[in-house]
């Protein structure tokens, strides 16, 4: 079964000396599924969004857990530290993340 990952934007690079095309896909928060945890790599977006995210506890290196996703393309609920936050997918796409492997079952 295929997972929809349409929110990811690939960036294409061309290495001239080696004649190599490199495609880098940066994972962002909007692509994370319910129950998965990710680590924040970078915050983008305009200063206001950046500032609000920081005040709510988002910062590089912190882990984010996706609690639920709204229907009909609605917002997602995530947990950062002790705070639950709801944010639109378009805003979540401004947060670069690195996926954390799921913890092994005890």
């Amino acid at each position: 079964m295929l997972k929809k990952i349409s929110t990811l934007k690939p960036v294409w690079y061309y290495q001239e000396s080696l004649s190599l095309i490199v495609v880098i896909v940066k994972l962002n928060l909007s692509a994370i599924q319910v129950g998965e945890t990710a680590i924040i790599q970078a915050l983008h977006g305009d200063p206001a969004l950046h500032c609000r995210l920081e005040a709510l506890g988002f910062s590089t290196g912190k882990s984010v857990m996706v609690i639920r996703r709204g229907r009909f393309g609605g917002p997602m609920q995530v947990r950062v530290g002790m705070t639950d936050v709801i944010l639109r997918l378009s805003d979540a796409a401004r947060i670069d993340i690195q996926q954390k492997p799921a913890p092994a079952a005890p």
């Binding site: 609000r52 709510l56 709204g70 393309g73 609605g74 609920q77 639950d84 936050v85 709801i86 639109r88």
Partner: protein, 595 residues
């Protein structure tokens, strides 16, 4: 006089703390940005009178919202002797930076770690002594909701205010350049003084959210909940309302009529048919309004509104707004004015304008009075709740349709990132204080707007004095003859039309002015209206009342919040146009279908 300012993030119980310190009743809400006006109160601390200012909840000093600007402006332009920083103890990890920012302003500060009860339940332990040493400020654990730690707070404040202060107003520029230092101190203070559990225990909030935010059940549950609350208010309020109406009628027939019987007829008519009938008919609805506000407070303070924002955002995004706009619509059910002011949490001006354009369509408590009266007069007890519910749906429909039509004009790309606070059960004290606040507000309006409005109606319908009251020869009759071509196609007769004109001032006057126009009150007035009108006319009247300009206060608020007279006039004209068109379509359609 010494001045103390309260500062803190939204959802930290800042307003509750303010209420407990001052005994006044600011609105408290579990929704970011509820306290939009600066509330102040004077209290006695030790041997001197101190002014306490409740600043709006902010996330940081760098923020870009209206509230954050208000706080910056306040601190730069006003002398503050002592600043009280309120931190939600459960979220100390992310709220501590704000405290550090504030302390660096150089104003003597006291840090209150609020919601110590919730923190204890979650297994968070905080060493206040160590934290105080690191912050160089007093740190106090407290619970604004239950009153724990308040002795210590007042003692500390008294001791601090007695020390001579040397600082002047704050210099905010200095704080902006110290971000990295603040980040480092936050980490070291948390390390030294706070112990947090690795994983949050699964609390009641998680379990409730599984139901309330369920992908399929969430929305139907919301509508069901609204309907049930509304049924509850109606069933519980109706008998109380009947009791008050009976009491007012008894006072009139047993007390006032014999007492004034030998006064000049015109004066007696003015006092009894004018003022007493008018104000009395309105007063009968006070119990339902109080109940309504108590229930609204419970919903607002519970944290459910943020869930509603989550559920409705997908739809609202398609209408050019966001989940918060929908919450403002809901708040508008109480009163449109605070709902309009609540839009200050939005940063984008377009989004604010679009939301402010739709909020006045919310069926506020004043309009509810009119509808309760008309439905009681013309519909059976069985159909009345359905009729009222249809008006609530139409209120949403007008708002959503307006947004759809105007969203092209007000395009915004405001981020939608809000906090989801845990569910909280407000204490009885919180709800009662708020209820009292609303009653006081209503009575204040009653003494000004309603009495003045009712007196004006009585004069218009009784002058000149040599013709029958409310007939075509009175001043009111002349006004109505002028408006007849506009109002008769929508089934609104002269008397109702006059009530609508007074409704411009405030909807609370509508029922009172009907009483003054007909010179009757309570059951007698309802009986007469049932004779004179059929349900199609009555429904058309209610539709018009629902959609046209809510009241002068709302119009004034629209003007001051949008800072544009053009915008204010546009909303007024649009609502009149929409009201007339909807009524025309309804009335002519119903007549064509031979109802």
């Amino acid at each position: 006089m010494k001045r103390i300012a309260l500062i803190g993030m939204p959802n930290t119980g800042k307003s509750t703390l303010f209420n407990r310190l001052t005994g006044a009743s600011a609105r408290v809400g579990n929704w970011p940005g509820i306290t939009v006006d600066l509330m102040t109160a004077k209290i006695i601390l030790g041997s001197s009178i101190v002014q306490i200012v409740d600043l709006p909840g902010i996330y940081s000093f760098h923020g870009f919202s209206e509230d954050e600007k208000v706080v910056r402006d306040f601190l730069e332009n006003n002398h503050v002797d002592q600043i009280v920083i309120i931190i939600g103890a459960t979220q100390i990890d992310r709220q501590l930076p704000l405290a550090l920012q504030v302390i660096r302003l150089g104003i003597p500060a006291v840090v209150i770690l609020n919601m110590e009860d919730e923190a204890r339940q979650l297994g968070i332990s905080i060493d206040t002594q160590r934290m105080g040493d690191a912050l160089q400020a007093s740190v106090i654990l407290a619970s604004a909701k239950y009153g724990a730690g308040f002795n210590e707070i007042t003692q500390t404040l008294i001791a601090r205010l007695n020390q001579p202060s040397t600082h002047r107003t704050a210099h905010l520029d200095a704080v902006f350049s110290e971000d990295h230092a603040i980040e480092a101190s936050t980490a070291s203070i948390l390390e030294a003084a706070v112990q947090m559990p690795k994983l949050l225990p699964e609390g009641i909030t998680t379990r409730l959210d599984r139901i309330c935010l369920h992908p399929w059940l969430g929305l139907p549950l919301f509508f069901l909940l609204m309907f049930l609350l509304f049924q509850f208010i109606f069933t519980l309020g109706k008998p109380i309302q009947d009791g008050v109406a009976w009491l007012l009628a008894e006072v009139r027939t047993q007390g006032l009529e014999p007492w004034t019987s030998d006064w000049p007829p015109l004066l007696q008519g003015f006092l009894l048919d004018g003022i007493y009938s008018g104000v009395g008919t309105v007063a009968a609805f006070v119990p339902i309004i109080i109940l309504f506000f108590l229930v609204m407070t419970l919903v607002e303070d519970s944290g459910y509104l943020s869930r509603v924002a989550f559920l409705m955002d997908a739809l609202m995004a398609r209408l050019g707004m966001d989940g918060r706009s929908f919450v403002m619509l809901l708040m508008g059910f109480g009163c449109n004015v605070p709902a309009l002011m609540g839009t200050r949490v939005m940063r984008s001006h377009s989004l604010r304008l679009l939301t402010m354009l739709v909020v006045p369509f919310s069926l506020c408590s004043a309009r509810l009075q009119v509808f309760l009266f008309i439905t009681a007069a013309l519909f059976t007890i069985k159909t009345a709740p359905a009729v009222l519910f249809s008006l609530y749906l139409l209120s949403f429909a007008s708002a959503l349709m307006t947004a759809l039509l105007f969203k092209g004009r007000y395009v915004s790309n405001e981020p939608f990132v809000i906090e989801l606070p845990p569910y909280r059960l407000p204490t009885c004290r919180q709800i009662m204080m708020r209820g009292w606040h609303e009653v006081r507000h209503f009575l204040r309006r009653a003494t000004r707007f309603i009495t003045a409005g009712v007196i004006a109606v009585w004069f218009l319908t009784h002058f000149p004095t040599d013709v029958p009251p409310a007939s075509a020869e009175t001043l009111a009759g002349h006004i109505m003859a002028f408006l007849k071509p506009v109002l008769s196609p929508i089934g609104i007769d002269a008397e109702l039309g006059l009530a609508l004109i007074f409704g411009f001032v405030a909807k609370e006057i509508v029922v009172g002015s009907l009483a003054a126009i007909y010179g009757l009150e309570g059951d007698a007035l309802m009986g007469l209206m049932a004779q004179k009108l059929d349900w199609v006319q009555a429904y058309s009247f209610m539709l018009f009342t629902l959609i046209y300009v809510p009241c002068l206060s709302t119009v004034a608020t629209l003007r001051s919040e949008s800072r544009s007279s053009a915008f204010m006039w546009m909303t007024v004209i649009w609502s009149l146009l929409l009201a007339w068109s909807v009524c025309f379509a309804f009335y002519q359609g119903a007549r064509w279908l031979e109802f």
